[in-house]
């Protein structure tokens, strides 16, 4: 019977694999081809232009501006989210306070909201004259700012929202990881005189390192994206004056506003390799010895 198993399994996989090939792989492959054409997206006409689109990418000020903003997000968002999530997760799972379960749900809550809802919500929070944030600041006697209207603040306002909406997921992830750490290890460290902070950094962190690594990859991708939140929330969008432009938005605008689908595909392909490179770098750079827990 053994030799019959392969066709049996293959029979089950044919449909999903075909769907995957048609709906996922072939569009990817086509994007790579389109990146080498001047396709405008309204007819079947597309002429081969070679690497012309890629050459243009490098001196398009909008692309460079977007790249800079994505780089800032790449530096800030993952680190801020992971540090915050580690801190909260440690407080919840190691502190053994009552009500930890409730807080875990509360932190996870933003995860349940779609990006569109989050974007609209925070636009209201940030709105200058009647927004929640400026309202609170005014109560404290601090003059409110035009958070999304000021080029020096807008990107930070966007990143705060991205961190806010992402942190809950990682709190839950890290909580689960921390709870699988044997208590004896932490108790032994405490008896040896390690402070809470030392225990967190020297004992807990190495034991949850794999999760942190995964978090960095996911957050890195999120930081290279940021399209939805910027598109919905910011002035312009992508403004004021390109202060919150991200590569995803540049791609979108080139395709759907400027009708340069070929150029947009080139941008997409570049972004693809950028993300791939990032994932490889993070995995390589953060490789550590695996700790086996009893």
């Amino acid at each position: 019977m053994r030799h019959r198993r392969l066709p049996f399994i293959a029979g089950f996989l044919v449909l999903p694999l075909t769907l995957y090939a048609v709906l996922v792989l072939s569009p990817y492959a086509q994007a790579f081809y389109l990146a080498l054409t001047d396709w405008r997206g309204v007819s079947a006409r597309a002429e081969f232009v070679g690497a012309d689109n890629f050459a243009r990418l490098l001196d398009d000020p909008q692309v460079l501006g977007a790249l800079k903003n994505n780089a800032v997000m790449l530096l800030v968002v993952p680190i801020a989210t992971v540090v915050l999530a580690l801190f909260l997760a440690a407080a919840l799972s190691l502190g053994r306070r009552r009500g930890a379960g409730v807080y875990r749900v509360v932190y996870f809550f933003p995860q349940l909201l779609s990006v569109a809802v989050v974007g609209v919500l925070f636009q209201f929070v940030y709105t200058p004259n009647s927004g929640l944030l400026n309202g609170v600041l005014n109560l404290l006697g601090i003059e409110g700012r035009s958070w999304l209207g000021d080029p020096s603040l807008a990107l930070w306002a966007v990143m705060a929202v991205v961190v806010w909406s992402a942190v809950g997921f990682y709190v839950v992830l890290f909580c689960a990881a921390m709870e699988s750490i044997p208590r004896e290890i932490l108790e032994a460290a405490a008896i040896d005189g390690a402070s809470a902070l030392t225990r967190l950094i020297r004992v807990v962190l190495p034991l949850v390192w794999e999760n942190v690594q995964v978090a960095f990859i996911y957050l890195g991708m999120a930081a290279l994206d940021g399209f939805a939140i910027v598109q919905i929330m910011t002035v312009g969008p992508g403004g004021p004056d390109n202060a919150t432009e991200v590569l995803g938005l540049t791609l979108y605008r080139n395709a759907f506003t400027y009708g340069k689908f070929g150029y947009a595909s080139a941008l997409g392909v570049a972004l693809f390799f950028l993300t791939l490179a990032l994932a490889v770098l993070v995995l390589r750079g953060s490789r550590r010895d695996r700790v086996e827990m009893a």
Partner: protein, 465 residues
């Protein structure tokens, strides 16, 4: 993935899927359009030769204007051609729904090609999929056989729908841009609407003294403010200046008229005439603040009254005024306006009842239908005398007066439609100008640079007006 919904990856997939759709859409080998032998015998009552029994297939974009006005025109059609069955569809996403029918050679007889995701008219024209509307324009109008349909329309509307001199598109609604204010507020303070920019600034100072903000604008979309700015450029520099800008002539944005107007608008920032926080408000937020009387002027198109209907307090009496002149040396009169058509109607060349399609448009342009559109959709149709003798809201009435006063001086820029990257540069620069982060001189340099880049980019198709 923690960031769910439209991720870059999903987006790329979607993006890359489009060629498949496009390939499907174009691979079918649509038959070459031929002029169907639809036209029957013509008569004075039936100048377009509609065959009595041919059914009519109408597709209307059901957006902000609804579709009752189209049903009204259909009822007129039924009166004249009682044997013809009419199929009406009021839909959204017109392009998606119509593309397969166009490709299959089975299009409806009339399409209101409007809203997000409409069919790309330029490609339809290029593929010869549209019927020329010449016959309709030269047909006698529904009300007066002595007047051609062409002569009932507002100036410029036929040209705006023409490609290479052939009219393929008929815009049914007419949008006018200007500065909106509450006439009751003006009456209360004894203010008069400024005719020149100097008067505007003086009035602004006075408004500030009264404790109000003179201006607000839809800061999240700074292009709203470009409408008055560019209209003032047109008034100061004349139509030659508009043409120079649209034709990407070298140094067009460095012209004295542009410089002077940009400096004039920079004054708004300099004098603090713009409501604090405007730069971060969405259009709804800014317009609501304006309706609440927090600011006196707001730039907008003539859809504003309908858009604000739910939040406008009773007795607010909003009206629209023309953009002030820069000075008395202006080349265009103060009554000139920026105006353009919307709700573009097309007739597919492969339709089965093209004569019926033309007849439908002719009846839609009848006085009765136009009046019905004005009252049910609260907007102005492209028929010149549409608003005459109607009981109108204050805003729509003022729109009608503005159009009448402007006469032939209705202008519109073509570059935002032709060269989107240039339009973006103008929008961004104006946003910065109004917040005092970019000087007038820098504005001109930035925009001129963007225009030069577009002009030098061989991959962008160029047009001339």
């Amino acid at each position: 993935m923690p960031e769910n919904t439209p991720t870059r990856r999903g987006f790329l997939g979607l993006l890359a899927l489009t060629p498949v759709v496009a390939a499907c859409a174009t691979g079918g080998g649509a038959p070459a359009p031929s002029v169907p032998a639809a036209a029957g015998p013509t008569s004075a009552a039936n100048p377009l030769g509609v065959a009595a029994k041919d059914p009519l297939d109408v597709v209307i974009f059901k957006g902000g204007f609804g579709d009752d006005w189209a049903k009204f025109a259909e009822s007129l059609y039924t009166k004249r051609h009682p044997e013809a069955k009419i199929k009406h569809a009021g839909i959204q996403g017109v392009g998606q729904a119509m593309q397969p029918r166009m490709v299959a050679g089975d299009p409806p007889d009339v399409i209101d090609n409007s809203g997000a995701g409409a069919l790309d008219v330029a490609s339809l024209v290029a593929d010869k999929q549209l019927l020329s509307l010449e016959k309709l324009l030269d047909a006698p109008s529904a009300d007066d056989p002595a007047v051609k349909v062409r002569d009932t329309l507002v100036p410029g509307i036929v040209e705006a729908g023409s490609f290479g001199g052939v009219p393929y598109v008929l815009n049914y609604a007419y949008t006018v841009w200007g500065l909106w204010y509450s006439s009751s507020l003006f009456a209360k303070h004894g203010w008069t609407y400024p005719a020149t920019w100097a008067e505007m600034l003086t009035l602004g100072d006075e408004i500030k003294k009264a404790g109000l903000a003179p201006w607000t604008y839809q800061g999240k979309y700074p292009e709203y403010m470009n409408d008055p700015l560019l209209t003032m450029v047109a008034k100061a520099g004349g139509m030659e200046q508009v043409a120079a800008i649209d034709n990407l002539e070298p140094g067009a944005w460095r012209a004295d008229s542009v410089k002077a107007v940009v400096e004039a608008f920079a004054e708004l920032a300099g004098r603090g005439h713009i409501m604090k926080g405007s730069e971060a408000l969405s259009h709804t937020e800014a317009q609501t603040a304006w309706c609440q009387g927090k600011a006196v002027f707001i730039p907008c198109g003539s859809w504003l009254e309908a858009e604000q209907a739910k939040v406008t307090p009773a007795g607010f009496d909003m009206v629209v005024g023309p953009t002030p002149r820069l000075s008395d040396a202006d080349k265009l009169p103060g009554t000139a306006i920026q105006a353009a058509g919307s709700e573009p109607f097309i007739i597919p060349a492969q339709g089965k009842n093209t004569a019926g399609g033309l007849e439908f448009l002719r009846l839609m342009l009848a006085k009765e239908s136009a009046a019905n559109f004005a009252t049910t959709a609260s907007a102005m149709p492209v028929r010149k005398d549409a608003l005459e003798g109607l009981q109108l809201s204050s805003g729509l009435k003022s729109v009608g007066e503005l159009v009448a006063a402007a006469g032939k001086d209705a202008l519109s820029y073509r570059f935002p439609g032709w060269y989107a990257p240039l339009a973006k540069a103008v929008h961004d620069s104006t946003g910065e100008l109004l917040n005092g982060r970019v000087s007038a001189a820098r504005w001109t340099e930035r925009v001129q640079k963007a225009a030069d880049q577009v002009a030098a980019d061989a991959s962008i198709t160029k047009y001339k007006r």
